[in-house]
């Protein structure tokens, strides 16, 4: 064996990766060859140095960062990020709506103004609100079959029926103070069962006890899902069980995302079928392997998207209500009024809308009439000034006389 070969084998010798014959040969050679002996000691030092380096510690939170990305990639997590985006759009929508109303009403008012430029603001307001009332009266009075037929066959209605079903995820949270904790806890569970809903999570614990440990006060959290049809009544039923301390509601409209995903699923299915057809005609093994891989990818994507739709369906069909109940002694209970009562909810909203629209019209009219108002004011000031001037003149003349 040459020195070169021996030098290469030194490394393997240290890992015990040589057979017995090679081992012996190497040991003998080193005793006789100084160059290889030096190489041997140097290699020993190098490997010692390599093994002396401690492993690096895993950076803090790296596992969590990895898992977060994994969750981001898969379906459930996407809903949350979607709803965040939705919130932004929900804020945007009313702004756009107000803007549009401003434009429409603005043009309307402008049109009226160009025709009858001398009408007062209040008269104008009456005019604007009049058509609304008229529509209401129309529907109330015209009860004839002819009218109903016309309504049903109108294009507007056909369009509404063709529109996709709104996909809205509703969530409410309630905080109640109660006297008999166990009873209320039981009653909520019964109510959920009766409404064909289910309990996602329920927990209760003692949060206070007096010094003698005779009296215990409990607190509990329930996350329940009820069919969306009973979302309002279920909330009402829970509120009636205690004193309401806090209530909030949230709804996320995911219609766009839902339709988008459905579209993608349709596309992938077409792709899947096409791939299967190509595969039937494929002859080369390489080609088949490639096609199979592609098919696998398409099917995985399909599964993920289908899972997302299923999850959405569940979230839309069942509204979530988070209930927190806290037991308090009788004297401690102070309730707030529910921020709505289910029955009067709609009435309240419409009256708020009406109030809003009349306020809007008022301000719009002020804005529209700004020039006229300024002009009027200037006229009045000039008028007063002229009258004063004339009055002084007359007075002066009288004094003179």
């Amino acid at each position: 064996m040459t020195c070169e070969q021996i030098k290469e084998n030194i490394s393997l010798y240290m890992d015990n990766a040589l057979d017995n014959k090679e081992k012996k040969e190497l040991e003998q050679h080193i005793h006789t060859c100084n160059s290889c002996k030096l190489e041997f000691t140097q290699m020993l030092d190098t490997i010692d140095l390599l093994h002396s380096i401690p492993p690096e510690e895993l950076p803090f939170n790296l596992h969590e960062e990895i898992m977060k990305k994994v969750y981001d990639m898969s379906s459930e997590h996407k809903i949350q990020s979607v709803s965040k985006k939705d919130k932004f759009f929900r804020l945007l929508k009313p702004m756009v709506a107000v803007f549009l109303v401003l434009i429409v009403v603005g043009f309307g008012v402008l049109g009226i103004f160009t025709l009858i430029p001398t009408k007062s603001i209040t008269e104008e307001m009456e005019k604007n609100s009049a058509p609304q009332e008229m529509i209401v009266r129309d529907t109330a009075n015209e009860n004839s079959d002819f009218y109903r037929e016309k309504m049903e066959s109108s294009t507007d209605f056909a369009e509404i029926e063709n529109l996709p079903e709104q996909k809205i995820i509703k969530t409410a949270s309630l905080f109640l103070e109660v006297e008999d904790f166990d009873l209320v806890y039981q009653k909520i569970k019964q109510m959920v069962e009766k409404n064909k809903g289910y309990i996602v999570n329920a927990e209760s614990y003692i949060y206070y006890s007096d010094d003698e440990k005779k009296e215990y006060l409990k607190e509990g959290h329930l996350t329940i899902r009820v069919p969306r049809e009973v979302y309002g009544t279920a909330q009402q039923q829970i509120i009636e069980l205690g004193k309401l301390k806090h209530q909030s509601e949230n709804s996320d409209d995911i219609t766009d995302q839902y339709m988008d995903t459905e579209g993608k699923i349709r596309m992938l299915k077409v792709q899947e079928e096409r791939l299967l057809v190509i595969m039937e005609n494929a002859t080369k093994v390489e080609e088949l392997i490639q096609l199979e891989q592609r098919l696998n990818e398409v099917r995985t994507d399909l599964e993920i998207l289908k899972g997302r739709i299923q999850n959405w369906d569940k979230l839309v069909a069942f509204s979530t209500i988070e209930v927190k109940i806290r037991q308090v002694k009788k004297a401690m209970i102070h309730a707030i009024a529910p921020n709505f009562s289910i029955k009067i909810k709609e009435g309240l909203i419409t009256s708020i809308n009406r109030a809003q629209s009349s306020m809007e019209i008022f301000f719009i009219n002020i804005a529209r009439n700004f020039i006229q108002i300024i002009f009027g004011l200037v006229c009045i000031i000039i008028g007063i000034w002229v009258i004063k001037f004339l009055y002084k003149k007359i007075k002066f003349k009288f004094n003179k006389i």
Binding site: K7, E8, N9, I10, S11, L12, D15, A17, Q42, M43, T46, I47, L49, L50, H51, S52, I53, P54, P55, E56, L58, P59, L62, H63, E65, I66, M67, K69, V70, Y71, M73, S74, Q293, N296, T300, E303, G307
Partner: protein, 199 residues
Amino acid sequence: MSNSLETVLIKKAKQGNKTAFSKLILQYESNVYNIAYRMFYNEADAKDIVQEVFLRIFQKLHQFQDNAAFSTWLYRITVNICIDEIRKRKGKETYSIDETYKTEDDEMIRQYPGDSKSPEEIYLQKERIEALYKAIQALSEEYKLAIILRDFQNFSYQEIADILSCSLGTVKSRIARGRIQLKNILLKEQRELFNKTVV
């Protein structure tokens, strides 16, 4: 982790169970991180590589054949991603090793403060580690990988052959030649250092 438990976790993870996936990867993260760290000698790069590795594992898990060794498959992906990254960088710019050292300096001191060693000893060890890392960075990709897997991660020759998808003979010669090259670089540096201090 027992093999049967790992098989169960893989099966569940394949079905999309993320908790199972989380448990499955936990024991491999440190090794993957260390391979990447030693390839790039830089924490930020190593973290990026680790994340990319496990995301790819998650995406491709359905392609994993149950009769193969999961660890081998995982380390093969790690090695491939490291090599891809190195090639990407080679294409874009010349990668300056010295610069990385300068920025990592402070970190190296902070990394081993717990040892009950004198300041001189800590300094010497730090110097030695730095010199070694510098020497490793100067090796060619093939040798570098072989040495990292063998001398840092303690894989057997056969395991390395499986991970790198090459023959046992190739692994043996890569490790042997890599170590010789490494030793020579270290000696040369020592000599230069010695000459400088003499002058």
